[in-house]
């Protein structure tokens, strides 16, 4: 779902130029940023998350303790996981693990541990799950296991091996400038292309070995900016696979050219061509007079609707949207500009929106092997309503989004969004007059006496929320839609029921 944000995704051939455009400016601003925060570049943690907050030392201590605890719990959680996974996905394991663990310096040692929760959701066993529940009392309800480290918003502390294109990309990830699983994957592959193009094998190593090593810090940096999407994981696995398979005897220039071509091919086959096939199939499902309801924003849904409109089918669209990204607005605007009749609801009005709809088209972040749809949070609600109304729910999804992972609920595996995103600037502004109504025991009140007369800024509201011990804001990015709510998945392999996802996944990875 929601590969809206950038247009990079659409065509493989255009995109390189575009990203190239973006890079220099982005990089320039980035370097400025890094200069600013250069002083505390050593300890990245306080710099990123706490820039606007300023906690008291006691709280900082507490937070650190909690983080430590969380890390320890995850270490335990990660313990039994690898053995399980090894049997499950031999291929992926071989490529991800082999090169990663071997030659890396000591710095990378704790990394596989930390990344486990964000990346793999399915195979966490029963025992560690209970542990994370206990610690969840402090952070994020039962989502405590997902709070590993705050999202990175600057390039400070990035390894010197990280390519500038990747540096820029990471910031675009963390600010949602590039958002949506396909867009993120394509942008990443293009950045890797830039990396490979400027790559030179050092003397004494082979390309296949060293390049894989070099990919490590890049991927790690991107993950720090925002956890992987499933598609990114799939693409990285594939890329590592072809790098490893590169014959060491091929001249470097040829090998590089081959790799670049392979990446282009991948994008063309798995995204561009797949989108075209899906589009054409999905358009046949839109009949004159239909009212198509869609949630948030998906590039493939958008393409489909536009194509149907160009084909002269007379239909209208209802876009349901939600806080905090409001991706649906972009979609609604694009569709309306194309001349389609669009109605726009927020999720609280979805029960009304669904009454007028005749079909529901959804995008996907990923399709789980047990047929469940992992997509922008709120999708499950919309498909539930549609199911209650007996409306067909159609998921448009490229096969690159299929994963062998399984998920039962939206809690074990998910991505936590920063809590401060819950309140927009305007909302904070609205809450400001409440200052003197805050409870007497609230820390903000005590603070107030010291800094009398200080102009109150909207960010103060966040401080109140941080300050009050029991009030938390919680936000995740995805939810899991049960398979029974989904009637059809349209992929480039054709239309299938949710139960066929594992079969198609195997098909698409084996060939």
């Amino acid at each position: 779902m929601s590969e809206s944000a950038t247009k990079e995704a659409t065509s493989a051939s255009e995109v390189p130029i575009k990203t190239q455009d973006v890079q220099p400016t982005q990089a320039a601003s980035d370097s400025k940023e890094s200069k600013q925060s250069g002083s505390d570049a050593k300890n990245t943690k306080p710099t990123e998350g706490d820039a606007p907050k300023k906690l008291s030392p006691a709280e900082l201590k507490k937070q650190k303790a909690a983080e430590k605890q969380a890390r320890r719990a995850q270490q335990k959680a990660a313990g039994p996981a690898p053995s399980q996974q090894a049997s499950q996905s031999k291929e992926g394991q071989k490529q991800q693990k082999g090169p990663k663990q071997g030659p890396k310096e000591d710095k990378s040692r704790p990394l596989p541990v930390r990344r486990r929760p964000s990346q793999s959701n399915a195979p966490i066993s029963q025992a560690p799950r209970k542990e994370s529940k206990i610690e969840a009392r402090q952070v994020g309800l039962f989502f405590g296991h997902l709070y590993s480290q705050p999202r990175k918003h600057s390039m400070a502390g990035a390894s010197k091996d990280v390519h500038p294109a990747i540096l820029a990309l990471g910031l675009q990830y963390s600010s949602y400038t590039i958002c949506g699983s396909t867009a993120r994957m394509v942008a990443m592959l293009l950045a890797f292309k830039a990396l490979i193009a400027s790559y030179q094998t050092p003397v004494g190593t082979s390309l296949s070995r060293h390049l894989i090593q070099l990919l490590g810090p890049q991927i790690e940096y991107l993950r720090d900016c925002r956890p992987y999407s499933i598609t990114m994981g799939n693409a990285i696995r594939w890329l590592k696979d072809i790098i490893v398979k590169t014959d060491p005897s091929t001249p470097e220039a040829d090998a590089k050219r081959d790799l670049l071509e392979e990446i282009d091919m991948f994008i063309r086959e798995r995204v561009t061509a797949a989108d075209k096939l899906i589009r054409e199939l999905a358009v046949t499902k839109i009949l004159p007079g239909d009212v198509i309801l869609t949630y948030a924003s998906s590039s493939i849904v958008e393409q489909t609707l536009l194509q149907a409109h160009h084909a002269g089918i007379n239909f209208s669209v209802i876009v349901v949207d939600s806080k905090p990204l409001f991706e649906g607005r972009t979609l609604a605007r694009k569709l309306a500009n194309a001349g389609i009749k669009v109605r726009y609801f927020l999720i609280t009005g979805a029960s009304h929106a669904i009454k007028d709809a005749s079909k529901v088209f959804l995008g996907a972040h990923a399709m789980m092997s047990n047929g469940r749809l992992y997509s922008r949070v709120g999708t499950a609600l919309v498909s539930m309503l549609a199911n209650a109304q007996s409306l067909p729910v159609i998921v448009l999804c490229e096969s690159v989004k299929f994963t062998e992972k399984v998920a039962l609920d939206s809690i074990v595996g998910n991505e936590v969004a920063p809590a401060e995103e819950l309140l927009s600037e305007a909302e904070r502004q609205n809450l400001l007059p409440l200052k003197n109504l805050l409870p007497k025991s609230h820390p903000a009140n005590a603070e107030e006496n010291n800094t009398e007369g200080a102009a109150s800024a909207p960010s103060d509201v966040l401080k109140w929320i941080d300050g009050s011990k029991n009030l938390h804001h919680l936000q995740v990015l995805y939810d899991v839609t049960p398979a029974e709510y989904i009637d059809m998945i349209i992929t480039e392999y054709g239309s299938l029921p949710p139960s066929s996802v594992p079969v198609v996944h195997r098909l698409s990875t084996n060939t």
Partner: protein
Amino acid sequence: MAPGVALAPGLTSFLKSLKTNPADSSVEHLISLLKRRQIRNSRPCAIATAALISKVVGEFKGNDATRLLERIRQVGRRLTAAQPREVVVGNIVRRVLGLIREVVEDNVGGEPANNSETGRSTPTQSQDLASRPHLNSTISSMSPLRHAAIEPIETSNYSSDISDSGELTKRPPLLTSHTSYAPTSTAPLVNSLFGLFSQPVESSTASTPTVPNSPDGKTPHSLNLDRLVDLRGSQQYFDLKGEVMSGIMELQEELEQSDKQIADFAHEHIHANEIILTHTASTTVQTFLAKAAKNRKFTVVHAETYPHDNAATHEVLLTGRKQDARAGAPHDDDDRWKCLTELGIPVYVIPDSHVFAIMSRVNKVILATHTVLANGGLVAAGGAHLIAQAAKSHQTPVVVLSGVYKLSPVYPFDLDELIEYGDVGAVVPYDDGEFVDKVDVEHPLYDYVSADLVDLYITNLGGHAPSFLYRIVADHYRPEDTVL
């Protein structure tokens, strides 16, 4: 209309102006406030309506029940026409109408045997048993028949112009069936029917025995004597106005107390370490949870109800109460009030889209409501249907908290009629002119939640199944008042 008020027009300014302004201009004032949505949500509307009606009754001259009924009905008609979706306004008016009818019936019916309760009921009963034993049982158990049986007495005791108020014509089939088995002489009929309606009234109080003070004001004899004297000196026949006024005062008391009464049931419904999902900034829910929080530990997940109630929700969570509630209960000192987080209850605010993701871990859903309908369905803030439906699909129990005053005798024949649409600017800011121009932005404020999605209602009378609500409606409203 509101002279010299510094406050923004709203409930507080209205209540203030009510003290000085005459009834008629106050009616106009409230109508304009309702129309401009300066008074909104159930509780403020109910408080304002009750205050206005008591003013109207207070200024009413004479002792003619029919004219008083007609006067209030006319005020009620105008108020509901001003804002039909605030069903509570109509509810309060209907409650007062029912109150007047009851006062009239009690006094007229109770007069002959006023000195002893037993002496009143036994002779009529024996008379009844003698004449039509089968009829007695059917009437006391079935409410529609009961009301039908009352009507002829009302007409016989009210002044003659009752016929053009349309009450007689409202239920012709029942009336004819009733007259068919009535004996030819009128005197014994009237007598026996007095006995009949006095019994159901008692039985309806008996059906809700747990309530400390019955909201209907069903014990007029004990209540009136003190207050009546200073309200009206001349007490010819019986003091209609005084009794109605005291009934309205009880109604106002009920409005004030209902949250606390509902909260008293909290311990029966919340267990330790529960995870409770709720929404909106409802004071009722907050009071309920706060009461339970006094000696239980649980976790609250709060959907913020964006975009129509999110500001109030955050306000409630930060400060403990919302503007409305502060205005509505100015005498309630704020120091005593503590918000949930102060009571040590962890509160997690989530966007509404997260409801499904979180529902699998939620033990109980507690919903606030705007209006409860007679079929057991409810109208609540937008998003309530999503929550209820998600709860249903996860088999999570849904509990709805509602004062009896929100319970309406209206059946939802046309659902869309009940749904109000709000400011689109809250969904997409108007600065985005191009967007607002091209796209139909809609902002429904309310959701209808059907009865099958609700597991339990908790009112100030106790817990009820949704299927039982019609009975409580029958206890509180007269069918002849359903259409104002």
